[in-house]
Symmetry: C2
DNA sequence: TTGCTTGCAAATGATTTGCACTGCT
DNA sequence: AGCAGTGCAAATCATTTGCAAGCAA
């Protein structure tokens, strides 16, 4: 059992949930992909899963802080492993084909951004949990 | 006729579309609100509009670059005037009540971010059109 | 046994679309 | 007249949910 699976198992147990075979398949499929995937893509990677179970399990995994759900206006939502399992990153979103690709920013930029956000959020009385940067445009294949 | 209406009219004409009373009502409602609004909110501001017409007109306005549509996972999408009509800004998204609030970052931070993004995007062959920063958490009312 | 999980089929609900009608131009 | 815009009702489609059966503790 890999370290990833151990962490997932732990978080599910903490919420009195079992780490079933279906859930393991979902986590494997998400870990295998380089970026966020849609439900149809996910089902293609784990053909034995029922669609409704996939949705249900993704929502359990999301509540347990294992999976993050992204919505960018395309038909389907995208799913990826939570940042604390894979590392902080952001997304390039193709406005034509809807694909989503990960990227990271240098520590310097992230830090100055964090500081600016801290100030702002304090002034507004907003309790920030995380931030996301999306870059919209055309991916290499579409442009 | 205000400057805003003049600009909208111009962009619609450029696409052979008319600036009708319904569309004007939508633009007024969006301009009157401080942040992005959902369709139900919009309809409340312009009760004589049919729901389907509101959706149809918003999509026309979006294609003409007058309106921007935001999707953040809540039930409804949010709509706001395009940034080149109102100025560059970002969003605080409340994870409990789903409300969305605008904010701006200092020029220094925006600039260092722009530079980082330029480099990145060039390396990936991605044609960037715009970026968005979303901060997720709990708004002042919900926390 | 008890209760979490699953798969199937049916429901939900935001958004889109067909169609007939109204109103610019 | 000719065609864009509108409202109503019906369709679409991702996602959610009810329910009966399977399975782990």
């Amino acid at each position: 059992m890999t370290d990833l699976h151990r962490q997932v198992d732990e978080r599910l147990r903490a919420r009195d949930q079992r780490y079933t075979e279906s859930r393991r398949q979902i986590v494997d499929a998400l870990a295998a992909n380089s970026g966020p995937v849609t439900l149809p893509t996910l089902l293609a990677s784990a053909p034995s899963l029922a669609q409704s179970s996939a949705y249900r399990n993704l929502s359990v995994l999301e509540e347990a802080g294992i999976v993050r759900r992204l919505v960018h206006g395309a038909d389907h939502a995208f799913y990826e492993l939570a940042e604390d399992l894979t590392g902080h990153h952001h997304h390039l979103v193709c406005e034509r084909c809807g694909s989503v690709q990960d990227f990271t920013l240098g520590a310097r930029v992230e830090q100055s951004l964090d500081e600016a956000i801290d100030d702002l959020v304090r002034a507004k009385g907003f309790a920030a949990r995380h931030h996301a940067i999306d870059i919209f445009g055309l991916c290499a294949d579409c442009s």
